[in-house]
Subunit: 153 residues, 2 copies
Amino acid sequence: MDRERKDTDRELIGAWTKRCYFAGRAVMDSALRPYDLGSVQWYVLYQLATAGPTMQRDLVRLLTIERATMTGIVATLVRKGLVGQEPDRVDQRQKLLRITATGAKLWGELPDLSFIRSVAFDGIDEADIAVAVRVLQTATERLENQLQKGTAS
Amino acid sequence: MDRERKDTDRELIGAWTKRCYFAGRAVMDSALRPYDLGSVQWYVLYQLATAGPTMQRDLVRLLTIERATMTGIVATLVRKGLVGQEPDRVDQRQKLLRITATGAKLWGELPDLSFIRSVAFDGIDEADIAVAVRVLQTATERLENQLQKGTAS
DNA sequence: CCAATTTTGCTAGCTACCTAGCAAATACGT
DNA sequence: ACGTATTTGCTAGGTAGCTAGCAAAATTGG
């Protein structure tokens, strides 16, 4: 691999990272559209259906998104009647989320989404995937670190 | 690498792709916030400052986003007075975009953003980056393909 | 030359992300 | 016990993405 190729990959990786993220979301969104569910709404439902009632702030940590973002997603699910939200008994600041009967019924009707991962990665060398994960993880950690420094000023 | 590790990487790559994309955008957004510019607004300005006046629909293809998304971004830049938008002489459907004097002035004041790529990828083996690009590109192409099929039904 | 099709950009309405700043509740240190 | 932190979730306002459907302009095929 010559020098030019190297430079090109460094320039391309950002664009492909973005495009891959949106392509995956597009397939997921399109599979969920008949059920009027977004990709993150699906994930919240998955968590509540699978692990049982969960504190909103724990879900924030699981998804690594901002509290304000979660507020909106939960509000949508509550409005649709799929999720219940009530203050925790002992810590009144926290909200406990719990899937409703309607939510559980919908969850049971949803298609299996594992085909998405298969479509994307079947047949790709597992070692290559491991390398990709390492690169993405390293870059992410450095960027998040940089953000701390940049914001701290 | 054992079987468990393999499965784990396949489960992780989606999450890290998303997180890496948002981490990069966060650093970019934070560098541009003092100038009241978003990351894609920056890219449009970059294109117009570097390559000269450009047709809106060509920019749509360059960025691989939807026409409706571009409409909004251009509207914002026009509202801020940084970009001019006028119908093309020969094809009245198309809009020609051109950086304004104000836009060019702002462009001249913007900081160099190449530090972002350096922070993220300096010191990472170029061969690993190449592998990551290949994995992301392959997955993206397959997912975009799948979307065609899923939508065509 | 004209009808049908394609291209382009728009609006409306949605998801999902963010920051900034607020208020209430809890935790902590003296 | 009490004042100061910190934690949690909220609102407001902005960016960037999407689909669906419209209207105008251009292209294409008979």
